[in-house]
Amino acid sequence: MKTTKKAISAATSIVGVFIATMIFGAAIMLLIGKDPLLAYKAMFSYALGDVSAIANLMNRSMALILSALCYAVAANAGIYNLGGKGQIELGAIAAAVVGYKFIGLPIYIHLPLCILAAMVMGILGAAIPGYLRVKWKVDEVISTIMLNSIFFNFTSYLANYPFRDVTRWSGTTPPVEESARLPYLVQSIDLRSGIIVGLIAAAVIYWLFNYTNQGYRWKMIGLNPRFSQYGGINVGKDQMKAMVVSGLLSGLTGAVLVCGSNYRFWESIAGPYGWDGVLVAMLAGNNPLAIIAISFVFSVFKNGALGMEQVASVPSDLTGVLLAALILFITGREFVSIIFRKRKHIVLVEEEVN
């Protein structure tokens, strides 16, 4: 009863925030003399109008879901992994190199090999800041941001020099073999099963969070690390585990980006997903189910932007501005709830007593 109530209030606040964002966007459009109704109609029809649009939407959502999960798992345990972008790139290049170097393997060996390689690299990328944090208390927020740039340069070097596709103008690897690509979901629109991977990952993390000891320990650490330590939880070890799972997910994101839609690595392949994933997870309050919903809405905004530009001549970059403003609205929302919590708290206590 209580959880459904909580879920409903979370859902309404998310919907409310999105509506506020759309109204804000409409105001800007009116200000620059464009028709918001026409623009929003174009946005939805462009993002959801036909099957290939849906395929695009799925491709964007799957990467967003996975990348948001990678932030959420760590943040839930009180350790902030902002290095998703770099770790995804590490995973992606591993998948791409394994995907094109090995020729003639059957798909049931080749594809898992790609994903495994990507996960190993992702875990390596996340374990470094995790270890520094747990061992020496090096602030992981800074170290992960710095590692983003390091991994970007490292993968850019790999894609430009040792593993470069010489037939292409700039830093990409050659396309991966057919045996390293995810199976088709719908072949006619080139939709592969990446979205299923995303949904399964979200379900697994949901289960981990809510139905296991490990998830409970993470939650406790996230709420109060000192108390958890006092209660006998090995905070460092559990946070390290969270970072490993987070890195595994970023590696998986990279593998899905390469094997599920792009078929090759290029510089900054994780560009749109690293930080957007962080935003989605923040909006979702690190709840895996909310992450799925918000990823879809986010992707509608992003994919529909071009439609807005073509039909209503609203610059497509406006959606980026709106989504960035969204997170500010959210911090504002939390502030508003802090004000009202005082009164609400009393009501809740009374309810519990009854």
Binding site: I32, Y80, L82, L132, W136, K137, V138, D139, V141, I142, S143, I145, M146, L147, S149, I150, N153, F154, S156, Y157, N160, Y161, W275, V278, L279, M282, P315, D317, L318, G320, V321, L323, A324, A325, I327, L328, T331, G332, E334, F335
Partner: protein, 315 residues
Amino acid sequence: MNADFLLDVLGTGLRMATPFILAGLGGLISLSAGDLNISLEGFMLIGAFFAVLGSYLFESFVVGICFAVLATIIYGLLFGLFTIKLKADVFVVGIALNLLASEATVFFSRLFFNVRGSFSDPRIEGIPNIHIAFLDKIPVLDQLFNDHSAFVYLSWIMIFIFWFLIYRTPYGFYFRAAGEHPEALETTGIRVNKIRWIANIICSIMCGLAGAHLSLGYLKMFVDDMTAGRGFIALSAVIFGGSNPIIMAITSFLFGLAEGISLRIQNMGIPSQFTLMLPYITTILALIIRAVRKNKKIALLATIANTENKIESGN
């Protein structure tokens, strides 16, 4: 490798360090007042865009600089509103403001200039270079220190102004106290939040100047996301230098040099990615060294306390 090449790289390094120094000085004040502002990058980008806008509209670099500073101050007020007034998480707001700056400047350049990618125009007036006449006759120094953009010299002067501000004025003391012992400062009757607001505005102004230097210093154009991670490098220099402007500036010079070397060797066809990584690797190493030292200190204090306890219980 001849001397000319070396001097050229050093000179480029000096130039490249300027945005790091300017933004870094701002970040340093902000950090000593207790807020690690990770959105230096976004602030600089806003500054760079509005500098070009002002200079384009009025054909004057002075107006450009004013536009840049005003815009970043407004952006800084937004940062202050969320972090100081609404008490939101500094990192969350920082991330959001970085993204917002990147998206908003692209949107604005579509709106005002109707271009995407980059905008340049003969109407844009750049910040002039300064020629120091007496250096002409001294060969090495002339090559190194002459004919830089005015902001390069400004940044060097600023280092000492900030050093003076932090170590020789009461305000410097307040800034550091607000960061280290806010409660202690509050008991002396000085409002911590007021100090944080002042630090925040100084930080915004410095980032505005850094941004103006990026877009009007040598290039005279605005390019989407032209800060290209420089804000994070400035942040690295700040973390490295702590609250000391001189150490911060030396670090910035080294980072500028790394960038200068990257530029040169890239032209020669050597991979520049590894030199480009240097600032970030140095920062992580600095963080580790500092953390290890701190942990040792804590361990030492613990053993001292232990032995004292033992002595006491022995009695």
